[in-house]
Subunit: 307 residues, 2 copies
């Protein structure tokens, strides 16, 4: 599970930082989180295959998180996509999107399945064999939502040597992977722990942007391996952060610390900071495992390093 | 007068080519022509000052020519712009734009002055001391317009030595620059040609995208120094060009030749052509002074070279 940052600027992009967009890769399944202007170009630059995107999550309806979506949807259609595309966004976006596409004479060759976000509590918005995604409310100037991605526990792995030793029949393998023991012909049972190893650790990632700090937020992202949290301002701008519905990097670090996160990536930097090292330092004073978002860089959940 | 290409792709951008956007610089006055996704980022990369943009021309309402506009307008506002901004676009765009900005909670700190494009004949849509801009109809799947930028003839230059020799009074200088002779105290008149040199040559540029070839088009861009013309396809795709309302590079070259243009820049290339040299060759067979558009390159009217 790793996060690639496509855009780490706030509303004003710079020559090094594009507007908000992020890709979460979970075993080569791609989740796009926010879709600022230029996302499709950033996807190309980072060699991320468009066809792998089946789920797009839009945190809130400010342009710097959305204005790349029209171009991307249109491009997917021109590239011949037929598969349904899932879009998770605040509930009023569906009609806006359709009106806009029709204004621009865009008819998509595939279906968009719209999943409205709303409410004041965490809600499970997606689930498949490998992962669940939960949305939770943020506090911004307009309705905004965070997302928690949690891998499901995988199957246990059968030890190779055990297969021969106990002559394990194929028909029993699925049950054993799920934790069952193996009943032998003489009625004896070999305990599961003797013939399997533990599944790979399941990882989790949470995305919090845009938001001011509020008390309940850490509880929504409790124990995540990797937390992305906006950090628009340095801490001396905490009043501006509060009035604009944004966070300082110290706020972000407090959320990470209170949540017991494994590591924190801060981003959504105000264009006033060409050098974000102070934002990082201020966050590290509270939560040492803090890393700055950089366009084109990836961050692995559970293996805290940027590469 | 020079043209900087910010985006030379057609609907599908590539890693080297952004969607359509072009900047015409006329004595450091900046005219933005089309505004595809990523224009504001391309403006930054090419170090073009946002504050110098006072006129934006939108040829037609397909996303690859427009989707960078919302972000740019919003950025101009965040950067503190107060000056009115002129937008020239097909007439139905004004309400679409306002609806969209309001959907996204964007209120601009400056006024947008909207100039609707319509009709079947060339129309002068802008004029100031230095330049006139004329729109003319193109033939595409939806209403589309080209733009002709023509510098006005400048003042004649008074020869330095003549000022001393004839003791030319300051009060006469403006008239002399406009072509008047100088009456001396003894009633003799020194003809203008003896005390001035000709003004710098006035240049012209025309922009034709998106369009299929049609007979009247060359007459709209007669004698321009520099012609930008779309060339989405190679000539073997001329039927596809016709049905999609686009041109082959041969079509573009025919327009340049029939118009007697000084030089031709072709762009808006289909993503199928990684290498556009064949498009250029096919055009040069008809009109030798053809140059391919490349993102970030500039082309000077009247001084045919790309730099």
């Amino acid at each position: 599970m790793n996060l690639t940052v496509l855009g780490s600027s706030s509303a004003l992009p710079t020559s090094e930082r594009n507007p908000s967009a992020h890709v979460l890769n979970v075993h080569e399944r791609i989740f796009l989180i926010d879709c600022g202007e230029g996302t499709q170009l950033q996807l190309r630059r980072n060699k991320i295959r468009f066809a792998k995107i089946n789920h797009i999550f839009i945190s809130h309806l400010h342009g710097d998180h959305v204005f790349g979506l029209y171009g991307l949807l249109s491009t997917l259609s021109l590239m011949g996509r037929k598969t349904d595309l899932n879009i998770y966004a605040p509930s009023n976006f569906e009609s806006m999107l359709h009106a806009h596409l029709s204004d621009f004479d865009i008819s998509l060759n595939y279906e968009t399945r719209f999943h409205p976000l709303s409410g004041k509590d965490p809600v499970k918005i997606m689930e498949d064999k490998y992962i669940t995604v939960t949305s939770f409310p943020l506090e911004h100037r307009i309705p905004a939502f965070g997302f928690l991605f949690r891998e499901k526990e995988g199957d246990r792995k059968i030890i190779k040597e055990a297969i021969g030793k106990f002559n394990i029949p194929v028909s029993r393998m699925n049950a054993i992977k799920k934790g069952a023991g193996l009943e032998l012909d003489d009625g004896m049972v070999v305990p599961n722990s003797e013939i399997t190893t533990a599944p790979p650790v399941s990882r989790s990632f949470a995305y919090c942007s845009d938001t001011r700090y509020f008390k309940k937020l850490p509880s929504y992202v409790k124990g995540v391996d990797l937390l992305y949290h906006e950090a628009t301002f340095e801490k001396d701008k905490h009043e501006l952060a509060a009035t604009t519905g944004h966070s300082t990097s110290t706020d972000a670090a407090c959320v990470a610390r209170e949540a017991g996160a494994g590591a924190l990536v801060i981003g959504h930097f105000s264009a006033r900071y060409r050098d974000v090292s102070r934002l990082v330092e201020e966050a590290r004073a509270v939560f040492p495992e803090t890393y700055p978002a950089m366009d084109g860089h990836s961050y692995e959940a559970g293996n805290v390093r940027s590469f």
